[in-house]
Point group: C2
């Protein structure tokens, strides 16, 4: 929409659209991001991009990589080797991560006069305590919300509280994720013995979806598991007819913290090396599936962007730093460790961008910056139009791992991807390489590479957002876009 | 398409379309199926039909019902009680059924220099032998067809043969089911130690689909399992890069045959009680999921048809007999027992119809009869037009359980339902009640009730098809439509 642009922006937009005309006219001293670089980055990402090949190395070669696991260790070394092979400077920054280990697990609806026994397809939630070997048995108490439990008082005592709220679409994740993260403590406060949570899923073939939960201080720690959508529907039908008892056996446990690392790589800026554009993704995944969309796709997109930017001569004006965070899924220790270790330089972090919504096609760009920040980038979006992503979208940019940078008022930018089918497989056994479309991944990589370059090259910097009124969010996994 | 009809059929069609006009005109002596009955049956099936409620009793109340299991026994008693409650005459006919029992099972791709270990989502195929407790380990040999194995000669020896052919749509089931049923013996003839078969599935979220297999005489019996589509894709990618070893542990076993029953119910004909219209479905299911589409839907449709026809006064001209067959899934013993026990009366079986393609919406009617058989029924299809099923479709009617009636030249009729999504859940943990749409089930029940009534009431009978050239098919599960 050039008519809405200030004159200078409109001019720049015209220049971008007609690169050949740029040299002959009296060029401004600082023309900003070069359209030739757009062609180079987008062309390379689409024609010789390695994002999907990297993703195959990570998912088929290494597989799941829960914090503290052998898979995570292997992934850290793989990432370091890969950056080195690409000629990108890389180092490891230590992070202590929680070590939660899934064990044997099962659940069943106990037979009654009304029905025979049914097995439950479930996954313990990450961070849950285990049950005694003989399991936990209790009557099911179905609720829709945390508030409903609080209102039930004595009725909750001794029960297995079953949080049953369906996700209709991806955008619902944020609305109901609290049932998973906070349900156990809310229920335990009223005397529940365990909780079952309907999987946060937009598709199911009897597929449970795990995810993080946490216990409040001073409240009994009770076991918590996600059941498949089908089993949630079954429980709902059975409960409607009378009392239903469930037996739950979870062999999971939390072991001592383990040593891990944020993998940090960077392409040094040619003119303002201390100004940092941070590109984040998380290297850890759940222990089921292979974390292809979550967040292998993000990892490979930012790694690929580092490779492509690293080949530019001259280098971008500012430093582009890629951080593959540790422990996004069940602790956010990597994000916090980065913010702490780099506290002194956050004032010169001019932008942070996290890719953690899967490997779908690119849709556009989002912001969380001071007033008018979008106008710094808007003139440079034309090269993304043929990818369907040359627009600024409503909604704030963000990301769990970069959320600890909020108090330092680091501006956030987002390259939003189509995540409408992300929650079909998110945190489940089905988050595997075959779910990622190589074409979509390449196109989003191209969009990311260009936006990253723009942020590193544009003459000005984004205005910083206001300081937040309260502490940064501590939810391990905030709502996806 | 009335213009293509012979005059008498066109006249009948007109009468059917204008029921109010029928009484005043000089009625033919034998007007055939009454349009008022169409209204009564279709109206009842759609407004007070119990198909879905019955399906909930069968799937939620009883659950899986593999031959010889407690679930199967419970289902037989449930069906008998249900017919009795509906006032429909019912009896049990004994059938000895195979008793195959799944045990603990697992599979994994063993780690190599190229990749870390991967678990495999698998299900032993029904009828498979188990492995030794320590499992069977072998290098994976990927093939696309039975013929390819035969051509590989010595290369097969000691290998785990992996049959990898994707289903693109439901109609592909018939093309590739042979890999599942016959793959083990074909591979064993060349010295394979086990087989893995890509699940016959049109959707997957890491969902293995089981199904029957059988061993040829005189060939070593080797273990056989279905792997999920995702794991098939993984194996395919890994094998492309070099040798891949898999370990397979299956705890399944075949126990002595068990006592079971065909549940037979009938509505006696008012005028030609010895002429039988047989409506079949199978009461057994696999041991995973609850057999909602396969074949709970068919069971409840034929039970509901018996209830609705049983309330007609006067009763239909001919006898309508409902048979809930035992052991369709892994032996076809029920279908064979019926054909044997009723051999003397198969000459007066004027039609047989099996519902075993799920609970989708009705699409039309199919035949397997002598030349011109369709014309007997075509004039009576108008009442199904508003259900979208008032047409005769190409393709033969059939059904596994009624296939033993082929040598006796019993005409087959089919009420085809939409089974385009049937193989998303078929033989998997996900074949559960929530997958069946109550509206679709009611509409197919309505279509079935009317077609059944037409067959039982129409003045003439279908010409019998030619005798088959060879023996009847012995495949446990022929291709679905």
């Amino acid at each position: 929409m050039p008519s809405a642009l200030p004159l200078s922006a409109a001019l720049l937009s015209l220049l971008t659209a007609a690169p050949k005309a740029q040299a002959p006219v009296a060029a401004p001293k600082d023309p900003g991001p070069s359209p030739q670089v757009a062609a180079q980055l987008i062309g390379a990402a689409l024609s010789e991009g390695r994002a999907y090949a990297r993703l195959a190395e990570l998912t088929d070669g290494i597989g799941p990589r829960l914090s503290g696991s052998e898979g995570e260790k292997a992934a850290v070394q793989w990432a370091k080797r890969s950056f080195e092979a690409d000629g990108v400077k890389v180092w490891l920054e230590p992070v202590k991560v929680p070590r939660w280990v899934r064990g044997e697990e099962s659940g069943r609806v106990l037979a009654s006069e009304r029905f025979r026994e049914h097995p439950l397809a479930l996954l313990a939630l990450g961070g849950s305590v285990g049950t005694p070997a003989e399991g936990v048995t209790g009557e099911v108490l179905e609720v829709r919300s945390l508030e409903e439990v609080a209102g039930l008082g004595e009725k909750v005592k001794g029960k297995i509280v079953f949080f049953n709220h369906a996700m209709a679409e991806a955008a619902d994740y944020g609305k109901y994720a609290g049932l998973r993260t906070r349900g156990a403590s809310v229920a335990a406060k009223s005397g529940a013995v365990a909780v079952l949570v309907r999987s946060l899923a937009t598709a199911s073939l009897r597929s449970p979806h795990t995810g993080a939960m946490r216990y409040d201080e001073g409240v009994p720690q009770i076991p918590a598991a996600a059941v498949s959508v089908e089993d949630a529907e079954l429980l709902h039908r059975l409960v409607a007819g009378g009392p239903v008892k469930v037996e739950l056996k979870l062999g999971c446990q939390t072991q001592p913290d383990a040593d891990s690392f944020n993998v940090v790589a960077e392409v040094k800026g040619r003119e303002k090396p201390k100004e940092v554009v941070l590109l984040g993704a998380h290297l850890d995944s759940w222990d089921v599936g292979t974390g292809a969309h979550d967040d292998g796709a993000g990892v490979t997109m930012v790694m690929e962007t580092a490779r492509l930017l690293g080949k530019l001569k001259p280098a971008p004006r500012r430093t582009v730093r890629v951080v593959l965070f540790a422990n996004e899924e069940n602790g956010l220790r990597g994000g916090r460790a980065y913010a702490e270790a780099h506290a002194a330089e956050l004032g010169t972090h001019v932008a942070a961008l996290e890719m953690d919504s899967g490997g779908g096609r690119p849709l556009g760009v989002t912001f969380r910056a001071g007033p008018g920040g979008e106008e710094l980038v808007r003139p440079w979006l034309q090269p993304l139009e043929a990818l369907g992503a040359g627009v600024i979208l409503a909604g704030e940019a963000g990301g769990a791992d970069i959320s600890p940078l909020i108090p330092a008022r680091v501006p956030f930018v987002g390259v939003r991807v189509d995540s409408s089918r992300y929650f079909d497989v998110h945190h489940s056994h089905a988050d595997t390489l075959d779910k990622v479309n190589p074409k979509d991944l390449a196109q989003s990589t191209a969009a990311l590479a260009w936006v990253s370059y723009v942020l590193a090259e544009v003459p000005g910097v984004l205005p910083r957002p206001e300081a937040p009124p309260a502490a940064p969010p501590t939810t391990p996994k905030p709502a996806a876009p």
